[in-house]
Symmetry: C2
Subunit: 454 residues, 2 copies
């Protein structure tokens, strides 16, 4: 395997520069103004896959943003690994909190700062460079397929249709995804699951127009006040979610799993200090690790209403809005939870206002078995490069398409993430450590080696 190391050492600067180029494209899927950037980014991914040695790379148009499919087939009899990733990124707001431009990547102290550096351009690109490494050193032992989509950050609304219509094309023996984190380079870990998601927007309408808060104040319900009361009522004094039947389908973690989780190296004080809070918050009866791993949540992602500009405006607004999302754990169903939340919000609306709630997108929770061939290959690959056993942990994030992949293709997913929780995903100053990027490129060929051998 010295050939891999030599090749990567020789080309490491180019690998990094190529990633930086990719990060310069503002491929924000949520914003229609970036439609052209999405196409440009898809074309860049296509070009890079071809340069890395893929035989065939196609851009598939969808009703939304394009998807890039690529493959390197060495022998149909060999095992096939399907790599899933996404070239779209989250919006960069609030822009004023970025220390450098979100799409002007800079490297400071060994960290690549840019929107998408970790989530997921930096991570899927490790697979492109791993492919190049194996092709150029004539060491590829599996077939590799790439499915790099452009709508992960908006809930993959069109990927399901593509997968259902292209089962033969996507046929593989496992799906490999690098879109999660590990505890640290010192404590490598593998996520054994991702949470599901129900992302809802709610609109509360009081009076039919904005009013003068002096002339009308006190005599008509203020939709901000009502929305605040509705939001406040959704968590009780123990920070349990109060929406009826919300927890009905939650599979409680076993005492053994909770014991294993408690053994992971973890310091609540450091965690709080890193976040700059005096006290952590969360559901009573669970540790912080459990709260982000095995428990569902309900978070406010945004709220707005009335005058939010400079200075003061004495308005009693007509409308107030919130974006609310639940993270789900097995066996919660995204559709069912979405209905529960929407119905609950509409039901608790007092008669002074009109409430409309609707789904942005959702996704099912997903658990990966730790006795699968793919998980074993990932664990062995990590041991090869890190010299340590990977700890299995439950991830808090969501990759909405996982459950669908398994259902349509009948194969298991393995998560081999090289990010860190502190990478500021979805936040200003998102970063990806250069070392993690290289470590991923180093580890991935080992995965293919083990997967074809097991």
């Amino acid at each position: 395997m010295q050939a891999w190391k030599d090749y990567q050492a020789q080309h490491k600067d180019r690998f990094l520069n190529e990633l930086l180029d990719l990060l310069r494209i503002p491929s924000i899927s949520a914003k229609s103004e970036h439609k052209a950037d999405m196409q440009k980014c898809a074309e860049a991914v296509q070009q890079r896959l071809l340069e890395a040695g893929a035989d065939k790379v196609e851009i598939y148009t969808t009703e939304g943003h394009p998807l890039v499919y690529g493959e390197k087939i060495i022998d149909p009899a060999k095992p096939t690994v399907l790599v899933y990733g996404h070239y779209d990124v989250q919006p960069a707001e609030p822009l004023e909190l970025w220390k450098s431009g979100p799409f002007d990547p800079v490297i400071i102290d060994g960290k690549i700062f840019a929107r998408g550096s970790c989530d997921d351009k930096g991570q899927f690109y490790m697979h492109v460079k791993a492919l190049e490494t194996m092709v150029k050193t004539n060491t590829l032992t599996t077939n590799i397929k790439f499915c790099i989509e452009g709508e992960e950050e908006v809930g993959s609304p069109n990927l399901g249709k593509f997968v259902a219509a292209n089962k033969d094309l996507l046929k593989a023996d496992c799906i490999l995804i690098s879109d999660t984190a590990m505890l640290s380079l010192e404590t490598p870990s593998i996520d054994t699951g991702v949470r599901g998601l129900s992302y809802i927007e709610v609109e509360v309408t009081g009076p039919n127009r904005d009013l003068h808060s002096g002339v009308y104040g006190g005599a008509v319900a203020n939709p901000i006040t009502i929305l605040a009361k509705m939001i406040a009522s959704c968590h009780d004094e123990n920070n349990h979610i109060t929406i009826p039947r919300f927890y009905d389908d939650v599979v409680e973690a076993t005492p053994e799993e909770r014991k294993l989780m408690a053994a992971a190296p973890y310091n609540e004080k450091e965690y709080a200090a890193d976040l700059g809070v005096k006290e952590l918050w969360g559901e009573k009866g669970f540790t912080t690790n459990e709260r982000t791993g095995i428990r569902p949540t309900l978070e406010l992602n945004g709220i707005w209403g009335g005058y939010i500009g400079e200075g003061a405006k004495t308005v009693l607004p007509s409308k107030a809005f919130a974006k609310i999302s639940a993270r789900l754990v097995p066996n919660q169903s995204s559709d069912k939870i979405t209905d529960l939340i929407i119905n609950h919000l509409e039901k608790i609306a007092p008669p002074y206002v009109t409430v409309r709630a609707s789904l942005h997108h959702g996704g099912e929770p997903y658990m990966t078995p730790i006795d699968s061939k793919a998980y074993k290959a990932a664990a062995a690959a990590i041991k090869d490069t890190f010299g340590k056993e990977a700890i299995p942990v439950r991830g808090g994030g969501s990759i909405p398409i996982c459950a669908l992949f398994e259902k349509e293709l009948g194969i298991k997913i393995v998560f081999m993430g090289f990010g860190l929780d502190s990478d500021n995903l979805h936040s200003p100053n998102e970063k990806f450590n250069v070392e993690n990027f290289y470590k991923g490129i180093e580890t991935i060929p080992h995965f293919h080696k083990h997967f074809s051998a097991i």
Copy 2:
């Protein structure tokens, strides 16, 4: 008085066109980008006062926006009326709800649609045109002074200093303000008071940066959720305000005053239908009229936090903000209530977050006696032009400078407002009925006639 009527009939189109020109200047005092517009508007007011026959008109610079002072002195021995008004306007947001440009005035069905049409350009300009009428027909029987400021909508932060430094200049026998409403042209009324104001902004900080709501969700307090809980706790189930000692200094209206208020023609069903709400909301134990007149309120004027753009972003934000204002009644003190609110918000903040609250601006409530010479002159003037007795009512809005005027100058204020509650003050599609504008110009000379005669 036929001379007034003839003159006004002859020049009515010009009067209206001059107002439309004034409305074209976007004199938004809250926004620093409109600094030049403020100066331009002050100069326009100066010019119009000179054209209307004022002897002397000066623009006074302040630490904020300029103030226009003008006068027409016919005889120092005659009574002097000080007219107060403001040429600044509220911000026009939300812009997308305007049917025409806020600064492109249009007249539709006899209504002038533009920001500031009623509040207060249209109303103070009635006084300018009334001055012109009396000067041109040689019928002026009082001295008239004008104090037209540019910071009313941001709480008049510099007017107090100007008044204190220019007591001689402003010396008068009464202050006349047209910046309020009447019930209707069929039911003319005179406001006997305005509510005070405490306008506060609150910032809630949770984690020190925006976080991924999946990776961290459930383990750290969400500042939107906390802010919602804080806001929700400020009104109890009877819609009483829960801030300790908030009601301490409220002078309860007498049964007689409440009886008089209940006699005013008023239909709650029509009120609710006009606002498009199924049910009205408000403090238990009080009628709608009382809720907007004799009771203090706490209203949310704006709220924001997290992602508020198009689509979805799974962020757990670092900060959430709200603009909150209380309307005050005699004898509440704005300073005291401001302290109570700020201290309360900081006190109820849970240990997971940091809360900072600060004052935007405030103003004291004000009551005008109905047995003063000025009130009697206003009532007589309205009877002259409307043929009906004006009903005394308590206004819900605020004119922060009233209490200060009385304290510094030792004279009483009378409110002679010609707007309507339905004029969409501070809202999209603000309007002022052309007929109300003319009716004001017609009524004001009668006020001066009566004031000099009583």
